[in-house]
Symmetry: C2
Subunit: 480 residues, 2 copies
């Protein structure tokens, strides 16, 4: 096979969408399933998800959250109990009508989200203040039939996610939880995936159907579009009332509880691909890379092969003793050049090249994936590789932050806004708070209010659309 | 609340089924979902599953198996591609016919198992010998509409499981994988859940629909019924042919590949509850217990409370430094006796009782859940608790092995067999190998061939039913 056919043939800059799809498929993260709009994850793709899952699980556990399991089937009558919520999801629900040859009575929905199911159970489990807070998380999938064009990780009819559902005795405690979770989301995405996010609130129009308010983290993608990276909702008593999630307080008086729900999905992997990838393929942040270091042994004779493979093994063991995920590519019949391209496409953060000449000089060649830098590294410096991986992780976040900054503009003139929105970007613009202006802007520019950053919820100024008194400075952008 | 209403009120010996259900619900492992036949897992139940998952994941990884993700929806046309397989699952498939208001074209099955989906993808991914072996595992759920009476963990219409699917270039290698996996299953169940299993083959009648042969591990439950604990199938080329899972060998000739599939489910948790539980509730093997040690502080005055809680904290830290999962039950308003019963019902392996008198004597009271033994333990002996937990784990397996032995009988007379089968048990009986005898025995006694143990596949003797030449000595039993 020629290199042409196996490598990425689309340019990130010129054909972003085709480039993205090629990276997902050729780096073997995912593939299409036989049903339109569904994908499967191959080992490297799933491994990134498992890494995120582990990190979240640790942070959730530290915060007193425990995991559970909910079935995928929800009766239609139950899903319909909170009216707005149902109306929001109804058009995209998959319905089970038969089991074997038999019709099921009440149609069964494949879970688009589990509020209605979880809270039916919570209302049984919670009796008194002693049972609160109840904080649970569920690692499962959600199913929402997509009619728009689907895209691996970004828009699929079934997606891996976690959904958290907590119950509290006071409004204050529930709100605190909403923000605490958003903070966990932000830290994890920035530290593990090296993607900067902006946190804040959604507008009334954009909030989760059934929530009192929705907090969100948003990131800007290289094509200038915004991606919603995760949301944490304050549900107030909107669900506790219809689902009768009540508790007897210390004074023995019954109260409706205060609730939160929150989730992130494998969309985070899509963001990681878009933000860091380049024309050679995937670029993985070291922390989530299934393979962090690949060693490519180089030799021409059998004698050299033996020496080089022995040294490669030794280096591998040295790295593994520091818990660095290392792989030796000892495939025969493939040239070093082919292997370099292959691992670059797969985004492995560090490549070690080692041949007989390197051994005689007591060093290896170290190639960094993210900036293509190649340097010599002495055998005595191999132990520094964990530090180098950390540096790469830090630099990747810094450079993504810099790019996001360059794509963020303050704007006060609506004509200028309309001219510039075509190129994409985050636009900080004053807004009066009226849904009418928000809708007009959307209609005329395609841009939504992505997020009202927490530090810009109360800002003086004039609404970019109607010129009236502004109450906040949201970020406007076209979104995924 | 009185103790009566919260504790287990059924006897394991006299009303096994009711006892089991009460333990599942009252120990808060699981609860019923709104759809008949479905359950949800509460944190303690899910934690046991996570513990098993971690152990299996480590062993699978050591064996070169990697995890992936498959969607839950399989088109009817694809599920029907292997005829016998489809006929086997068809009556229990949940069918999706609509998404939103729209009819889907080809009906979509909720995965009863993923062979057909996985192998469609494998046929795309596998091109040459270089791509083999391909060994993947999927942690997901399977959905099979149950018409029989359902029971948490044992028979539910959706269940958590793992399904492994491997592809090999030779028959020999694939068969080796089948046995390797069964060995992993056996070790894990015996070492983690302290349940002894018998491994061997299923009869032709009982094998997986589509397999060449099925290996199984079976355990005997305290009510004398057999439970299938996990199966590992040799699929031969039965699927690789219809699904065109082919590879070009080194000589560039194309061959159909050899395949395996295998799975265990949360049924293992059901077995653990049945085998170890008693009239006070759950008894957890230490290795999978969400809480391994519970400390119950005992005090009457505020001054004592302070001292006792301080010492409790100190012990907790000491235990946690050894990675022992420890909880202090410092709930006010509840008596020590209530707490003892509560944690006994929940099956926590060790309880530490500590009061002011204990402190003055520099010791605690240590209560073992599995044999109800209570002893003093000096402060200087606290560090031995990890050894004590290991001992408990070992003893639990030994005592379960002893019980299984007592419930296993060699039998050669069919009249005697018919008399004794009512009480349950494993019966080693000679069999001629004819399906006719197997079916007659099932019809007349309700007993299946559960497993033909590996060391009894070729045994001389006379068939218990027809008196003709016997080829093996299977275990007959009534099953779950």
């Amino acid at each position: 096979m020629g290199k042409e056919s196996v490598g990425i043939t689309a340019s990130k800059k010129n054909d972003f969408s085709e480039w993205y799809t090629q990276v997902v498929l050729k780096a073997e993260l995912a593939d299409y399933a036989p049903v339109k709009g569904l994908i499967v994850l191959r080992p490297d793709g799933y491994s990134i998800w498992e890494s995120l899952k582990d990190t979240f699980d640790k942070k959730f556990a530290q915060n007193g959250i425990r995991n559970g399991f909910l079935p995928v089937l929800i009766p239609e009558s139950l899903l319909g109990k909170e009216k707005k919520h149902f109306a929001g999801f109804n058009p995209e629900v998959f319905w089970v009508t038969h089991s074997g040859e038999n019709e099921v009575g009440d149609r069964l929905a494949l879970r688009p989200t589990s509020e209605t199911l979880a809270y039916t159970l919570y209302s049984k489990w919670i009796k008194s203040w002693r049972d609160l807070p109840l904080k649970m998380n569920f690692w499962n999938t959600a199913l929402r039939a997509e009619i728009k064009a689907t895209k691996p990780f970004l828009r699929t009819s079934e997606f891996l996610w976690q959904e958290g559902h907590t119950v509290h005795s006071t409004e204050k405690e529930a709100k605190k939880e909403v923000f605490k979770i958003l903070e966990i989301y932000k830290n994890t995405v920035e530290e593990e995936l090296a993607i900067p996010v902006v946190t804040g609130k959604k507008s009334e129009k954009e909030k989760f159907v059934g929530a009192v308010f929705t907090t969100t983290m948003e990131s800007i993608m290289p094509d200038g579009k915004a991606l919603q990276m995760g949301t944490s909702h304050f549900l107030g008593q909107n669900f506790s009332k219809p689902f009768e999630v009540k508790f007897a307080d210390k004074d023995n008086v019954e109260h409706f509880a205060w609730q939160t729900s929150w989730g992130v999905s494998w969309r985070l992997i899509g963001a990681m691909i878009m933000v860091h990838g380049d024309d050679k393929g995937l670029v993985l942040p070291p922390k989530v890379a299934p393979t962090q270091v690949v060693i490519v042994p180089i030799y021409n004779s059998d004698e050299d092969k033996k020496r080089v493979l022995e040294k490669s093994d030794e280096i591998k063991k040295q790295l593994e003793s520091k818990s660095i995920r290392t792989h030796i590519d000892d495939r025969n019949e493939l040239s070093p050049g082919y292997k370099f391209n292959d691992w670059e496409m797969k985004g492995v953060p560090l490549r070690i090249e080692i041949g007989p000449k390197d051994i005689s000089k007591q060093k290896v060649v170290l190639a960094k994936r993210y900036n293509k830098e190649k340097t010599d590294l002495g055998f005595d410096e191999i132990e520094k590789i964990d530090l180098i991986l950390n540096e790469i992780q830090t630099h990747m976040l810094e450079s993504a932050r810099e790019e996001a900054k360059q794509n963020t503009l303050n704007i006060s003139d609506y004509t200028e806004f309309k001219e510039k929105i075509g190129k994409g970007g985050f636009f900080n613009a004053n807004w009066c708070g009226k849904q009418e202006c928000e809708e007009k802007i959307k209609e005329e520019t395609g841009a939504d209010i992505r997020v009202i950053p927490f530090d810009k919820e109360n800002k003086e100024g004039k609404c970019i659309y109607c010129n009236e008194q502004s109450t906040s400075v949201p970020i406007f952008a076209r979104g995924y």
